[in-house]
């Protein structure tokens, strides 16, 4: 399967997608010229929008880099701020826009908020604090936007003929499947179990996906 980063051939990649937080990928691409700015990681039918985290390394004509979903703004600092007589959407979107990130239109944040005091610190920490207080989850989506809302656990919708299960570790709530197209994502139901985290491994010898399920699933 062809995979690429901004059109550059992807030699190998590991894409880790948690149910809560930002996904990231460790990639090795062909060549020594590494693109910058907002990047498009194309694997199968998925286009992951991301940003390189640190200066890449190059060796023997291959470049190695780590990318994170979105614009890389979540580790940045936000100032302390009080929000009075507003709603969750305003609080979250202002926190995200302060660090260059965007709120997904699929978020569900309509609750009114009488008062919320955001401490100064990393945007991701501020986001987690608010989400926890509101009983919500948050994660960076494949398109790079940040989703905040209640889990609805829709069916993952994987065609049974599109994957082969190769490993099963019931005590660890973990299975491994051979899946060419990395469409399985956390926050969905797969095999009637709630997906907590997926790690897609992409390489020249094919693709495999490790799936962790929620503890009570």
């Amino acid at each position: 399967m062809f995979a690429s980063l901004n059109g550059i051939v992807l030699l190998e990649g590991r894409i880790s997608v948690p149910r809560c937080g930002a996904w990231h990928a460790d990639l090795s691409i062909d060549g020594t010229s590494v693109p910058t700015g907002t990047l498009s990681l194309v694997v199968g039918s998925q286009t992951f929008s991301c940003t390189a985290l640190a200066r890449p390394a190059t060796y023997a004509g291959t470049s190695y880099l780590r990318v994170v979903g979105g614009k890389g703004g979540l580790p940045k600092q936000v100032p302390a701020q009080q929000f009075v007589g507003t709603d969750g959407k305003t609080i979250v979107s202002q926190t995200l826009s302060a660090v260059g990130e965007s709120l997904s239109s699929t978020s569900s944040l309509g609750m009114g908020v009488d008062s919320w005091n955001r401490a100064a610190g990393q945007a991701s920490t501020a986001l987690s604090k608010f989400a926890n207080a509101a009983g919500l989850s948050w994660r960076v989506l494949v398109d790079g936007t940040v989703w905040v809302g209640s889990e609805t656990w829709p069916n993952a919708g994987l065609n049974p003929s599109s994957y082969i299960q190769s490993d099963n570790f019931p005590s660890e709530a973990f299975i491994e499947i051979a899946l060419e197209d990395p469409t399985l994502l956390p926050g969905t139901l797969f095999l009637n179990r709630r997906v907590s985290m997926v790690v897609h491994d992409v390489g020249s010898d094919g693709s495999r996906t490790k799936v962790w399920f929620e503890g009570d699933s």
Binding site: W116, N117, R118, Q122, S124, K129
Partner: protein
């Protein structure tokens, strides 16, 4: 120590550790007490405060928790106070533990009584003693200012010592003059507010 570990490697390791610790410690910000300055007290009794630290925002609607039930205070701007968050909840800041507070007024409200038990109770500095029901009072004396008065006899009064001879004041005839008591007249306070006792 492995000699292959460079300063850069160690610095990256320390920075990674620092990031993790910082993320964890940021949770603790809401469990810390923050010295703050009162900007103003609003009509509903809550405060607008500005913490000294920039880690916490200026806030309004901060409730005062005095630690004593039934007590309300009004403070002046620039009072200094510690601000915390109830159960570490960012939505529930409160003010307590005052430092250099300028008290404007204080109100005690009790369902049954307010008891102050001390040998001396001073309501104003160097104030005067307070009279109570049953305490003695003295009225009059040589230094007393003459008190105008009118006396209306109900029976005939014979006045002697007049150069023209004794004469009679008819009942109902008002006698107008002034009275000076040469010595104090003593009495007791006979009533007071039964709900205020000392």
């Amino acid at each position: 120590m492995d000699s292959n570990l460079t300063d850069a490697t160690l610095d990256r390791g320390k920075e990674f550790l620092r990031l993790i610790i910082r993320a964890v410690l940021s949770e603790l910000l809401y469990h810390v007490q923050w010295m703050s300055t009162v900007v103003v007290q609003d009509d509903d009794g809550t405060l607008q405060v500005q913490p000294d630290s920039k880690l916490i925002p200026g806030m309004k609607g901060v409730k005062i928790r005095l630690g004593l039930p039934g007590v309300e205070v009004k403070v002046k701007p620039q009072a200094r106070v510690m601000v915390g968050f109830e159960n570490g909840d960012p939505q529930k800041p409160y003010a307590h533990v005052w430092d250099m507070a300028t008290l404007d007024s204080i109100k005690f409200t009790g369902a049954t009584s307010l008891n102050i038990n001390a040998p001396t109770v001073e309501l104003v500095p160097d104030g005067l003693a307070t009279a109570r029901s049953g305490d003695m009072v003295a009225v009059g004396g040589p230094a007393m200012t003459p008190v105008p008065c009118t006396i209306v006899p109900t029976a005939p009064i014979t006045v002697a010592g007049s150069p023209t001879g004794p004469w009679t004041i008819v009942p109902g005839t008002p006698i107008v003059g002034a009275i000076v008591l040469q010595a104090p007249v003593y009495g007791t306070v006979v009533s007071g507010n039964p709900n205020v006792k000392s």
